[in-house]
């Protein structure tokens, strides 16, 4: 049986991106600082992966100000949720196939 590796989303190859996406599918919105703390990532690293997800149109960015401090919130798009679900299904499929081998 063919293993559907090609169904895995390239955008989720990186662990951090996958984790960002998992947070955004269960929470309506999440802000940059909370994400950073939760994922234990550096500013630059997190920002670049968020940028990549934004480019794929998997997430939306909302910028606002809390007092004088900038507050950036992220939200998963319908496209992003769909892609995340497909990626999970593919992972599951791979495990199932390997068990039957």
């Amino acid at each position: 049986m063919k293993i559907p590796f090609e169904k895995l989303d390239k955008a989720f190859e990186n662990r951090l991106r996958l984790q960002i996406m998992s947070v955004l599918v269960v929470n309506e919105r999440y802000d940059f600082n909370s994400l950073k703390e939760l994922l234990d990532a550096s500013d630059g690293n997190l920002a670049s992966h968020l940028k990549a997800l934004e480019k794929e149109e998997y997430i939306m960015v909302h910028k606002s100000f809390l007092g004088r401090k900038p507050n950036t919130n992220y939200e998963a798009t319908a496209k992003g949720k769909q892609a995340f679900k497909q990626h999970l299904d593919a992972l599951e499929q791979i495990i199932k196939n390997q068990k039957t081998l």
């Binding site: 590796f5 895995l8 662990r15 996958l18 984790q19 998992s22 947070v23 599918v25 269960v26 929470n27 999440y30 802000d31 909370s34 703390e37 939760l38 994922l39 999970l88 992972l91 599951e92 791979i94 495990i95 390997q98």
Partner: protein
């Protein structure tokens, strides 16, 4: 990709989903202790109100005496506040300790959300109960505190352990029963805030704390 790598991936996804949306550092032990404080408080309250007389007799007349001797009322409120403050201090201390062990930020997104969800029904219920006391409706206080506490728990349960929801529903049912049976308020109160907390705290402790 190897199978265990994928399993790893799935585990990390699941853990992120939970940790980002739930505050899982509530301490079961603090529930047990809060229950113990409540029972002690109820015992003290009982001896103040019903110093003499049988356990199951209807005794609203004691409270009807409030106009003549308001001291009892103040002592009761003081006892209730002491129980509340002691429970809060214990709960906050043990939760902070558990959050530190689990590496979860005790003052982050999830804990703030949890507090907000708890506070709205609790503050409403507390204010309403104080208003009812000030207007002399003592018979309904046990019921109103139980019901609003239950609503607060149900409201908070989607941000922490699911089990909290069932505790909330039981508290609401107890509160409604207490409203049906005025005069036994203290008894329901002792069961709701004392016994149930001890039972639930023990379950939570065995399930999550070890």
């Amino acid at each position: 990709m190897k199978e265990n790598e994928i399993q790893d991936e799935l585990t990390s996804i699941r853990s992120m989903m939970e940790r980002s949306s739930k505050f899982i550092s509530l301490s079961g032990l603090s529930g047990v202790l809060a229950g113990v404080y409540a029972l002690i408080g109820a015992g003290v309250g009982y001896s103040i109100i019903y110093g003499s007389g049988g356990f199951f007799s209807y005794r609203e007349y004691v409270m009807a005496d409030v106009q003549r001797s308001p001291t009892n009322l103040y002592t009761l409120i003081l006892v209730a506040l002491t129980v509340l403050v002691a429970s809060l201090i214990t709960g906050i201390y043990l939760t902070l300790r558990k959050a530190r062990q689990k590496g979860q930020n005790p003052w982050g997104r999830t804990s703030k959300q949890l507090l907000f969800n708890l506070a709205v029904p609790l503050v409403t219920g507390g204010a309403l109960s104080l208003i009812l006391i000030s207007r002399g409706y003592f018979g309904i206080i046990a019921s109103s505190t139980l019901i609003f506490y239950g609503l607060a728990l149900v409201n908070a349960s989607n941000i922490t352990y699911k089990d909290v929801q069932y505790l909330g529903i039981i508290e609401i049912v107890l509160g409604l029963l207490a409203a049906l049976l005025p005069g036994y308020g203290l008894l329901f109160w002792a069961v709701g805030f004392g016994v149930l907390h001890i039972v639930y705290g023990s379950i939570m402790y065995l399930k999550y704390d070890r």
